[in-house]
């Protein structure tokens, strides 16, 4: 065989075999991968909407949100998936709103790339509890214990991460209020 065709044939054959093997792997694993993502989302929604029994994806204006219902089928609040810039990369969160009482239920961090040991502590309850049952409004990040409902106590040594989370919560709240018009 001449050299050039041989090079082309061998490389093409390798690429085809590789493609077949990958197509097979993809088919075997894709279902499980999607299940994992779905499960993670469900857990996050249940986490920020206590008493959740079922939820459905709804849309108002530009905002997509999960409307949660309790065991009796009554609405208990909405969960919104939000993201924004952190100290090093994107922070993704699920935020639960109690629309009836105009309060934030709680937040959950889905993924982040903050500094381990410092900014990464935004996932810990000590920081997240800042937002539990917070009335709607403009929040201030403070470096001391909070004095009122609208203050958020920053993590020591991670003020930027703390402020980033607060900004994401505020922006999401504004989006929600815009989407719901004068209702909230």
């Amino acid at each position: 065989m001449k050299e050039t065709p041989r090079l082309i044939i061998v490389l093409t054959a390798i690429a085809i075999i590789s493609g077949l093997v990958l197509a097979f792997t993809y088919n075997v694993t894709i279902e499980k991968i999607q299940q994992n993502a779905e499960l993670k989302k469900q857990q996050a929604i249940a986490e920020v909407l206590p008493g959740l029994e079922s939820y459905e994806l709804q849309q108002k204006g530009d905002l997509k949100y999960y409307q949660g219902y309790d065991a009796n089928g009554l609405p208990i609040g909405v969960a919104v998936e939000a993201n924004g810039g952190g100290f090093q990369g994107e922070i993704k969160m699920m935020i639960g709103f109690n629309t009836a009482e105009k309060k934030i239920n709680s937040i959950m961090v889905l993924s982040h790339t903050e500094t381990p040991g410092l900014g990464a502590r935004i996932t810990e309850d000590g920081f997240k509890s800042n937002y539990n049952n917070k009335p709607f409004g403009d929040y201030t990040v403070v470096k001391r214990p909070v004095n009122n409902d609208l203050e958020v106590e920053a993590i020591a040594g991670a003020t930027i991460s703390s402020a980033a989370v607060t900004t994401i919560v505020e922006n999401t709240l504004k989006d929600l209020q815009t989407a719901f018009g004068g209702e909230l």
């Binding site: 050299e3 090079l7 061998v10 390798i14 590789s18 792997t25 991968i33 040991g117």
Partner: protein, 198 residues
């Protein structure tokens, strides 16, 4: 060379991290905890073992002019398999290792061993070499990860250590990128010192 020698070679004499100083990008980046080092080492070993087997089997078929693209396709295929399998069955670990799994493709350890060893040696020797190098890489990464985790977070594989975690004030810098350079530098120096005395 005997099979036994090919295997032991990667564990110590030509340890990829401490002797060949190959694959530094994952070595420095993911070893901020013991479990991450272990998972990265095992994923790399998986790719290394299968790539060396295939390349050693196909060494007569692959013309030398297209050997590098051929090796890269073989390596990339196994990396993608590892990526999908981790995402499907070990989602937590896949999330931590994130981008570093696809980056195994360009880990010079794998291409280096394929080119320097598997493309010239019989399959059985290549398997022993891949296992030795893979295990050598894995123990080195796990060791680095454990040191950084214990000093930087005061935990061992995510578990608190009795009588240690309670009073140890974690050195956060050890789990940051700078800690990787410090740990690796000191270990390399130690390793060189020990071998020189012989």
């Amino acid at each position: 060379m005997s099979h036994g020698r090919d295997f032991v070679n990667g564990l110590w004499n030509e340890n990829p991290v401490f002797r060949l100083v190959l694959g530094m990008c994952p070595t420095l980046a993911v070893t901020n905890a013991g479990i991450n080092g272990l998972a990265m080492g095992l994923a790399t070993s998986f790719v290394l073992i299968f790539s060396e087997i295939i390349i050693s089997l196909a060494k007569k078929i692959i013309p030398s002019k297209v050997r590098i693209p051929s090796y890269i396709i073989v390596i990339a295929t196994f990396v993608t398999i590892a990526d999908y399998v981790l995402k499907a069955f070990f989602p937590d670990i896949a999330e931590v290792l994130g981008l570093f799994i696809p980056l195994i493709v360009v880990n010079c350890l794998i291409l280096g061993r394929s080119e320097a060893f598997a493309s010239k040696q019989p399959v059985s020797n290549s398997i022993m070499d891949a296992f030795g190098m893979g295990l050598g890489f894995t123990w080195a990464l796990t060791f680095l990860g454990i040191i950084r985790e214990v000093i930087g977070m005061g935990t061992f594989f995510g578990l608190s250590i009795p009588f240690f975690t309670t009073w140890w004030k974690p050195w956060t810098i050890m789990v940051l990128p700078a800690g990787a350079f410090l740990t690796l530098g000191i270990l390399l120096a130690l390793m060189n010192h020990l071998t020189r005395e012989k």
